[in-house]
């Protein structure tokens, strides 16, 4: 009989502080200058095309090199109001830096993300803003969900002269920036600093603890507002579909991550000695690394396909591994074992791609002893949003929208993770919100 080992205080406060400090510290001015000068200032640069928000990257980098940091920040923030957060969390290796011609040349792309952080940090710290609101249109738009898509939409609407009211289900704005991003990627409460910066434009009213379908009804919003923008994200976590998934010690990764982000004292958080994380995306990487940083002894990330099929980028996989996470591939969860109602082990079936290229099990089985299992196999739309009201039609589990971000309901737009616009990334959500705001503005300007 094994002893379940889940407890807090595995590490000293000093060690915890070090583990959860900035994983990629900001560039110093001298380094920023050298890095900025590595940019070739490409014509029609591929990095711009690779950025979902189309930031003019060569331009903002050149401005860093000439000491025009304000102009640089403006290039970034006018395209992407969350340029500061995106600089921290974007998987740049698959976006701008992946497209950088220096990646082609010698696999040493310009460190665009770090330069973007350098430019935006200095500007946001200065407390200045260059946005001015257009003359009031008298139109009011409800923005449901105060994450990146919602805030981006609200900000652009405010710039265009409209009034936005943001309905946020949780206590704080910023969505996954506040409740999802790993703490060592966004230290010093940057998410809320960015929210303050965004709201400074004016014309954005915020109502927190207002959950759609519970505290606020879509029907009413459609009657009371000139337009509604849905940016509710994905509220439900997928389950493994195993028999006894509800036993103690088996958690949804996103819930634990949110708890960790909101914790005032990391030493109080319990962590298992042996942790298994099921999944192959960024959430799986985050919970695995966070568990390790909290003091878990063995953290194993298990994915049912190979490294190439993982949603996590090669850099994220490498980050997990250098932080001591073991990554296992081609294993599919089959059975949870328990002792006294607490998970104690997990069994996997070995998988492979069959001759048709489909995933199949080989018949071989592997088992591990565990104290905690995290599920990180994706999220879906929150079921409880379906109230008595008419909701937009969905496609592939998300709200269906056209190219103008209009849902199937007149007067209702949607963006962010709750639609299928691209990858579920902060930067994509910001772009969705911005484009939806422009679309709403066009529509409202016609009437």
């Amino acid at each position: 009989m094994t002893t379940i080992d889940v407890r807090n205080g595995r590490l000293s406060q000093e060690r915890l502080d070090l583990n959860f400090s900035d994983s990629h510290p900001p560039l110093e001015p001298g380094n920023a200058l050298v890095e900025a000068n590595r940019c070739y200032f490409c014509y029609d640069a591929p990095c711009i095309e690779a950025c979902p928000t189309s930031i003019d990257i060569p331009s903002f980098i050149r401005k860093i090199s000439t000491g025009n940091l304000k102009g640089s920040a403006k290039d970034i923030l006018s395209q992407n109001i969350m340029g500061g957060m995106c600089a921290r969390v974007c998987p740049t290796e698959t976006l701008c830096e992946g497209a950088c011609v220096r990646e082609t040349q010698d696999h040493q792309p310009v460190r665009i993300g770090e330069l973007q952080r350098y430019a935006t940090d200095s500007f946001i710290e200065s407390g200045e803003t260059f946005f001015e609101r257009a003359e009031s249109s008298g139109k009011k738009i409800a923005v449901v969900g105060g994450g990146p898509a919602g805030l981006s939409c609200a900000h652009r609407l405010a710039v265009l002269g409209h009034q936005a009211v943001v309905f946020e289900a949780r206590e704080k704005l910023s969505g996954l920036n506040e409740y999802g991003i790993a703490p060592y990627k966004t230290v010093n409460d940057f998410a809320q600093l960015e929210v303050d910066y965004i709201l400074k434009i004016g014309g954005i009213e915020v109502r927190t603890n207002q959950k759609l379908g519970h505290d606020v009804k879509l029907d009413n919003l459609r009657k009371q507002f000139d337009a509604v923008f849905l940016s509710v994200g994905l509220g439900d976590a997928n389950s493994l579909g195993l028999e006894n998934e509800e036993i103690a010690g088996v958690y949804d990764a996103i819930e634990t991550i949110a708890e960790l982000r909101q914790s005032e004292n990391l030493a109080e958080l319990s962590v298992g000695r042996r942790v298994v994380v099921i999944g192959g995306g960024s959430t799986a990487i985050d919970i695995a690394v966070e568990s390790k940083k909290l003091g878990a002894e063995d953290v194993t990330m298990v994915y049912r396909r190979g490294p190439e099929q993982m949603n996590a980028t090669w850099k994220e996989q490498e980050f997990a591994q250098t932080n001591g996470v073991q990554v296992k591939h081609w294993l599919s969860p089959k059975k949870l074992k328990s002792e006294n109602g607490h998970v104690s082990g997990i069994e996997f079936e070995c998988t492979e791609l069959n001759h048709e290229g489909k995933l199949s099990v080989t018949g071989e089985v592997r088992s591990m002893e565990v104290d905690v299992v995290f599920k990180a196999i994706g999220q879906t739309l929150d079921n409880s949003l379906d109230s008595d009201d008419e909701m937009p039609k969905t496609r592939a589990g998300k709200f269906a929208v056209n190219a103008k971000y209009e849902t199937t309901l007149p007067g209702v737009w949607a963006g962010g993770d709750c639609i299928n616009s691209g990858e579920d990334l902060t930067v994509q959500a910001v772009e969705d919100g911005k484009q939806a705001a422009i679309s709403i503005h066009r529509k409202l300007s016609q009437t």
Binding site: N37, C42, Y43, D44, A45, S65, V101, Q105
Partner: protein, 424 residues
């Protein structure tokens, strides 16, 4: 191993790498360190009459380019600020301890016969190998009628050179200022005065930058600045041209030259020697990186000479001079076109945009399947080389000769030339 020894108007050294008259050569301590590092000679920082001059604090300004430090350096430091006797004593000591190295003494005294004839015997007494007349510094001393104030008037140059040669048999190099319209006129004067060689260039009159907060030139001394003398890699092309002018001029073509100006490595040195210099003088590079750089200078020049089969400096000195001609004699039939190596192209588009915006619209962007490539339009390409220089990938763009290679026509016979001579 090639023989790197040199002889500049009677001043001999085991290698052509000398430290120019400047802060690195202002006292025994530095000069000994330099000789230990391997420098073939030094030109001692300029001596003057007592009482010594005084210097300002904050003396240098610099041009940094794209993260590279000190592409150019300017200074407002004057000649030595130590008593004459101290310098003379140390020079004597150094020459005694390092007999095989060239020890040249730079001089600048007021422009009258008495002062020059006073100082020359004292210099001769040190046992040094020669003197270099500082007619070049454009700042400070020129306000007092010395340095460039002399160097810009060929008659003065000739007169002072003659005083020096009348007083001593020491080899005498005349250091020239580039702050003149025609460097050859000053070189003629140096020759007429009996000078044994010329050293060039001295620094270029410059204001290196403006402090936009203080609204004053840099370096800024208590809110004010003054023009300085510019040197470093940025001035090399100017220096190389002036050396070439003297090497080509029928009157001065056999005059020994010590080349100065932005020389930072053996390759720069080889270029100056190919254009006629017998030795080179280095300052900014040593001020930036220290004396150790001479190691690669000696080693690199040696390896290159071995590779080329040159046994000594004379084997390739002046070799490039005959190939410097006037524009009007360049072959107008020669034709090159840009060639892009698709296998190394990184698709940055700089060749396209530089040609599109600033040249002849001869590089087309072709978009296909989400990617892009670039294609030279031969009919439009004039072979200007701009794309090759804009391209960040070495050897990705090259220029290919496309004419027959057998035809020759220059401007003197070209139909568009109203002054053409008949070609028959």
């Amino acid at each position: 191993m090639a023989d790197l020894s040199c002889n500049v108007g009677g001043i001999k050294a085991p290698n052509p790498f000398w430290l120019a008259s400047a802060p690195p050569t202002d006292k025994l301590y530095n000069v000994e360190r330099a000789f230990r590092a391997g420098w073939g000679g030094v030109v001692w920082k300029t001596l003057g009459l007592d009482p010594p001059i005084v210097n300002v604090s904050s003396r240098y300004g610099a041009v940094h380019y794209n993260g590279q430090r000190m592409m150019g350096l300017n200074n407002l430091e004057l000649i030595t600020d130590r008593p004459l006797e101290v310098n003379l004593k140390e020079i004597k000591q150094v020459k005694k301890d390092w007999p095989d190295r060239a020890v040249v003494v730079s001089l600048m005294v007021p422009c009258n016969e008495k002062d020059w004839k006073y100082i020359i015997p004292k210099i001769e007494d040190t046992g040094c190998d020669g003197v270099e007349l500082n007619f070049g510094c454009p700042h400070g001393m020129s306000e007092r009628g010395m340095g460039a104030a002399v160097g810009q008037v060929p008659e003065y140059v000739e007169m002072v050179t003659r005083w020096v040669k009348e007083s001593s048999d020491l080899p005498c190099l005349v250091k020239l200022t580039p702050n003149v319209t025609d460097i050859r006129k000053v070189a003629h004067a140096a020759k007429a005065g009996g000078g044994d060689g010329v050293a060039l260039i001295n620094t270029v009159t410059s204001i290196v930058s403006v402090d936009l907060d203080q609204m004053a030139p840099e370096p800024t001394i208590d809110g004010k600045g003054s023009h300085g003398g510019y040197c470093g890699p940025a001035v090399k092309p100017i220096a190389l041209h002036m050396v070439t002018e003297i090497s080509k001029d029928p009157e001065t073509q056999h005059m020994p030259i010590s080349g100065i100006g932005g020389i930072s490595n053996w390759r720069d040195a080889a270029e100056f020697i190919a254009m006629g210099a017998s030795s080179v003088q280095v300052c900014t590079a040593a001020m930036h990186y220290g004396f150790k750089i001479v190691d690669d200078m000696i080693d690199g020049l040696n390896n290159w000479m071995d590779e080329k089969g040159y046994a000594n400096l004379e084997d390739f000195r002046r070799m490039a001079v005959p190939n410097v001609t006037e524009w009007q004699f360049l072959n107008l039939k020669y034709d090159v076109k840009a060639r892009i190596d698709e296998s190394t192209c990184i698709h940055c588009g700089l060749c396209h945009i530089s040609c599109e915006d600033a040249s002849h619209q001869a590089i087309r962007e072709i978009k296909d399947n989400g990617g892009r490539s670039f294609e030279v339009i031969d009919e439009e390409c004039v072979g200007c080389n701009l794309c090759m220089f804009a391209c960040p990938v070495p050897d990705c763009i090259s220029m290919e000769r496309v004419d027959s290679g057998t035809e020759y026509q220059n401007w003197t016979t070209h139909p568009n030339n109203p002054m053409r001579v008949e070609d028959n």
